[in-house]
Subunit: 184 residues, 2 copies
DNA sequence: ACAGCCATGTAACTTGTTACATGATTTT
DNA sequence: AAAATCATGTAACAAGTTACATGGCTGT
């Protein structure tokens, strides 16, 4: 919901037209999340459908302006007020967790490749920026990358003392027999 | 694509029926990603549509079995072989980056609330597990949480020396005037 | 003339997700 | 008899994303 909420939040600062919104979003995220132009208008349509924004005439140059509604402001406040709790639905972690449970998979080389990729991405990060938003996003990317490297070390240690996985033993069935109903 | 690929990877280990796949997926992720039952069948339909799996008869108890195809194996290998490069599209980072660029927003209290939530989630993590998959996912959650706390410190330091943001100055228009075309 | 940006939009698609329907079998 | 679990599905939707269409304006 980052694009949706992000665009809405920018609109909380004042009316904008589509292209301007896109630029503001890009700027505030330090150019790290360049949202596709089409997506902006798509998202604006959905925000309008949900009564969080309204079309509010044109500016002096004829560009169509969007303005936030009261519901929209409530939504922005809720977004900013709610903390983001990162679940354990971590794509990378789950991938590795499944990979190591697969037979005939060289888990060690997957870990190694991942470490190389992460280290590379980390090294490729821009040193620093004078833009506040960009600095914040950059700092996050750095911390995340370093955390990933530490985690990969931990995984290797875990693997060193691990036993093979398999499918669970087959259970006798209890449910209904397959294919007994067909919908109308 | 974690569910899709995860289920496919489990099928690479041998034929399964839907409910079994769901249980295997849950088990291998240490119960941290309990996929909805309906989603399993939805995903299986899509995997079948994409010729990555086929329906392959029934087991001795009448449950419908799914088996991976050659294309499916290729896909699994590609998934495991490709490293996941975490982009800078970080929901939390982008939210904070936008929040601090908004006027009239008490960024400090948002940061503080986020720190509390993160610390709480971190403390709530289970100590340890004897399940390999679960240990891996848990370790990732721990590292991520700690990295977030460090990042929040950095953000506070950045905020201490920051200047206010605003909308970019309005540019004279160059594009086409609004609403000059209507689709057929 | 042509490339490139400004500006707005539509169509089509993906994955993830939930709510619901259906019914059998086992346990209480 | 009721509740829980096993088991399979359908319908509907959200959010993100891309490809494409359209056309004006600016600079070379």
């Amino acid at each position: 919901m980052s694009v949706r909420h992000g665009l809405l939040a920018v609109l909380a600062q004042g009316p904008c037209y589509g292209h301007q919104l896109r630029q503001e979003f890009d700027r505030r995220t330090g150019g790290t999340w360049q949202v596709n132009a089409g997506q902006v208008y798509q998202t604006l349509d959905r925000l309008e459908r949900d009564k969080l924004i309204v079309r509010d005439g044109e500016d002096s140059e004829g560009r169509e302006l969007f303005a936030i509604t009261a519901s929209g402001r409530t939504e922005v406040d809720a977004w900013l007020g709610a903390s983001i709790v990162r679940g354990t639905r971590d794509e990378l972690a789950v991938k590795v967790a499944i990979a190591v449970t697969l037979p005939g998979i060289d888990a060690a080389s997957i870990i190694a490749a991942q470490r190389r990729a992460t280290a590379e991405a980390l090294a490729a990060l821009v040193e620093d920026s004078d833009d506040l938003g960009e600095s914040i996003v950059l700092a996050a990317a750095r911390e995340t990358g370093e955390a990933d490297l530490r985690w990969l070390d931990t995984v290797e240690q875990l693997l060193a003392t691990a036993e093979p996985y398999g499918l669970s033993a087959e259970q006798p069935r209890r449910g209904r027999p397959a294919r007994s109903h067909t919908p109308s």
